[in-house]
């Protein structure tokens, strides 16, 4: 008998949706031209890439010339932060100051740490117990040398939605660049760059049912940013290299659909999420991590007291359920999730975290199945635990 498979890890990556796959197909088969070639097969490819740029721009409320395709969210973040740091350092002839938070993804955090090593001033803002960055703390951190604020739109682990509209307004007022890592937010939250005062925004296709290995960086017109790579001038020099044509087309199609379906999807996703949270909290000795309301519609993150997260994941996996955890043992690092620690959770609670990220294709039946599997598993692991007081 085929075991039931339930995928509750859309925050890690999501299945490529059929429509995006079909849009990509011709570009994996007979439409193989290089967009830089001037012959007709090259022009077809160029045309397709530029159409994808228009679709992407439209979906975000941007202009096509503000969209730069990259190989993913990591690259978009690196270009946004290092590219503005490089440019600003050159223009001002000194290394300035940037502000970020302590709950960013490693693709922001490690970039900022490297810049700090190179002599830039970096402020890593603390967060509250819900993972929220306060606008006040951003304001207090600013100095005359601050050239960039980089705060994520929504957190990948605990789903907390940061006050980027307010931070953007502050940045604009002070003439400081504002980058937001929206990798988890795009396709899950409404984003309109006509309103949002953001200068740079990163996204990654595989988080919204597009293909892996392709992303984009939005760069508001006039934003000073330098390329990190030298090469043949593709993406108007900001990201040279032969374009991942099929990937770009898949990204644009997936994004277009995600944005179109967003209101409807948000409704059912949130309802499913809330049902899931309620059920989990009902299991006892469980705490919700992240913000109770300012939270991604698909994100659930809880900690099970007395249990280690990897053991939970393993138990779920053996029953066909895919989830993730902020446990140190899932990352091979000695420390559990920097996000949970930054929120002030103690080690044991941080290690007992379970992240369930819902997405396209999930249903009530999946949640039911999860409960069926999880209840006995939690009981079993608690009984086994050296920390569990409720025994004997």
């Amino acid at each position: 008998m085929q075991k039931r498979q339930v995928y509750l890890d859309h925050g890690a990556t999501s299945p490529l949706r059929e429509e995006a796959f079909e849009a990509m197909l011709p570009y994996l088969q007979d439409k193989y031209g290089n967009p830089s070639s001037m012959h007709s097969s090259g022009r077809d490819a160029r045309h397709a890439v530029e159409r994808a740029r228009e679709q992407t721009a439209l979906a975000l409320g941007a202009e096509p010339d503000e969209i730069f395709f990259t190989s993913g969210g990591t690259e978009a973040n690196n270009i946004a932060i290092k590219g503005t740091a490089k440019r600003t350092a050159r223009a001002r002839k000194k290394k300035g100051h940037l502000v970020t938070s302590s709950v960013e993804h490693h693709a922001v955090l490690n970039v900022c740490k490297e810049l700090a090593d190179e002599g830039f001033q970096v402020t890593f803002l603390p967060v509250d117990r819900y993972g929220l960055v306060s606008v006040e703390s951003v304001k207090r951190a600013l100095t005359p040398e601050t050239f960039l604020i980089s705060i994520m739109t929504a957190n990948n682990e605990v789903g907390t939605i940061e006050p980027v509209a307010e931070i953007g307004a502050l940045a604009r007022e002070r003439g400081i660049l504002f980058h937001t890592d929206a990798v988890q937010a795009v396709g899950q939250l409404p984003i309109d760059l006509r309103d949002l005062k953001v200068d740079l925004l990163s996204l990654s296709a595989h988080k919204f049912n597009g293909p892996k290995g392709v992303g984009a960086l939005y760069v508001r017109r006039g934003t000073p940013v330098e390329p990190l790579y030298g090469g043949g001038g593709q993406e108007r020099g900001l990201r040279p290299g032969t374009e991942n044509v099929a990937g770009i087309i898949g990204l644009a199609r997936a994004l277009e659909l995600a944005v179109e379906e967003l209101p409807e999807k948000t409704r059912w996703l949130q309802a499913l999420r809330d049902r899931l949270i309620e059920g989990l909290l009902g299991m006892g000795d469980v705490v919700l991590n992240g913000h109770p309301s300012s939270r991604l519609p698909g994100n659930v993150n809880v900690s099970f007291n007395y249990i280690e997260g990897e053991a939970l994941l393993l138990g779920l996996d053996l029953e066909g359920i895919a989830a993730s955890s902020g446990s140190a043992c899932t990352s091979g690092s000695p420390e559990p999730s920097h996000v949970l620690l930054a929120m002030g959770l103690d080690h044991q609670i941080a290690r007992g975290s379970l992240r369930l990220t819902l997405g396209r294709g999930n249903s009530d039946a999946d949640v039911d199945y999860l409960f069926t599997v999880l209840s006995p598993l939690v009981k079993r692991l608690r009984k086994m635990s050296a920390l569990y007081p409720g025994q004997g």
Partner: protein, 126 residues
């Protein structure tokens, strides 16, 4: 990631639980990462007559705990003293490289129990 034997020991761990009448209890754990194991021994004629464990830790830690108890149950104390973390991992048919350290707590807890037992005996029969 884990082999079938590890999965088996994780899913059906042997000798789980407390032992209120244990002759000696050992502990191990890293306060840093928070893995913790308790091991309970019943000792008769210098042999491990019964053994139980409780572990807070990942799959590898739990499986190693279970494996260890199976390995030393019925062994003499002298024999049990020879058992190392590597022996446990080997008996499990290997662990992923990144998980090797997770198996350390099992033999550590046993050795802690044995050491306490020796000390306890010393203080009883001076």
């Amino acid at each position: 990631m884990y082999n079938d034997k590890v999965i088996d020991h994780f899913t059906n761990p042997r000798n789980v639980g407390e032992m209120p009448d244990a002759d000696i209890v050992g502990e191990s754990g890293s306060f840093k990462c928070g893995d913790t194991m308790k091991i309970y021994l019943k000792i008769e004629d210098d042999k491990i007559a019964d053994i139980k464990f409780q572990t807070f830790g990942c799959g590898a830690a739990i499986a190693s705990s279970s494996m260890l108890t199976e390995m030393v149950k019925g062994k003499t104390l002298a024999e049990a003293q020879q058992v190392t973390n590597d022996d446990v991992a080997a008996e499990l048919g290997g662990l992923p490289p990144l998980k090797m350290h997770c198996s350390n707590l099992a033999a550590d807890a046993l050795q802690d129990a044995l050491k306490r037992y020796r000390e306890k005996k010393k203080s009883v029969h001076p």
